[in-house]
Amino acid sequence: MIFMKNKKGSDIIVGNVVFIILALLFFGLLLLFLMNQSSITRLMEERTAKEIALLLDSAEPGTEIIFDIEEIASKTDDEANAIRIENNFVYVKLKSKEGYKYHFFNSEEINYDFMRIDGRRYLKINVQ
């Protein structure tokens, strides 16, 4: 009788523990999925290209833009080829095959370079 009572108790505990582990696993996987979706490279390429293009569109001659690229630079080994500004296009190519390009209409001459400030990577753009 005592054995039976203990078995019942342990069954309930095991059942609850398994349920909690499965629930945690389930929500953990969902959280991972959500985090992964918000930082997928395709989205980062598009967002960065459009942000830089809009900055260049609105820039007046003599403007210097310092753009934080730490987040996207961490996704590539070759940051110099990851972001390019040529022929009125901003090209951003991380790990996807094609990358992303967006047109800007500002006709001023644009020079850019990559730099580090306190270990953080930035894109420095001069609009002339």
């Binding site: 389930f26 999925f33 959500l34 809009l54 569109d57 500002n106």
Partner: protein
């Protein structure tokens, strides 16, 4: 005993259904949200219209030589704008500018975009516009009304 076990089984069955519904709703919601491109046309058309205004007006006064340049060479050349999108995604002009200075209208780009402006609710597959009205001084110090409209299509990349 039998009934309790049955109830527990039924309960775990409901838990599985609830978890599945939550997972499907979250995953589909997130996928739908992230599958749409980021629409920057509102900002882009605003910047375009402001660029044109800054080109034509200096410190509140219309620049007659710029207006003459627009008459001769068009808005894009007079205001140093590169408006031909060569992404290869589009086979026609993706920008439209309409500048109305005291009744004299200057246009650039695809005129078909003009009538779509002002239809905020159905902007998904149509160009996004930015319209503003100003009063500026002309060369003889009298006020003239100026209207500017900037429209950006780029539908494949933004909607």
């Amino acid at each position: 005993m039998f009934n309790k076990k049955g109830e527990e089984r039924e309960l775990s069955f409901y838990w599985i259904i609830i978890f599945t519904i939550v997972a499907v709703a979250l995953v589909s919601g997130v996928l739908v949200f992230y599958s749409h491109p980021i629409d920057v046309r509102k900002a882009e058309s605003g910047i375009l219209a402001n660029k044109v205004v800054n080109c034509v007006v200096h410190e509140g006064v219309i620049q007659e030589e710029v207006i003459e340049d627009i008459r001769n060479n068009g808005i894009d050349e007079a205001c140093d704008l590169v408006l031909t999108d060569k992404t290869g995604l589009y086979d026609k002009e993706q920008y439209y500018i309409e500048l109305n200075i005291n009744g004299e209208i200057f246009k650039y780009g695809d005129e078909e975009y003009g009538p779509f402006c002002g239809h905020e609710k159905s902007k998904e597959n149509i160009p996004v516009c930015y319209e503003r009205e100003f009063f500026v001084l002309n060369s003889d110090n009298s006020f003239v009304k100026m209207e500017v409209l900037g429209a950006v299509a780029k539908i494949k990349q933004n909607s």
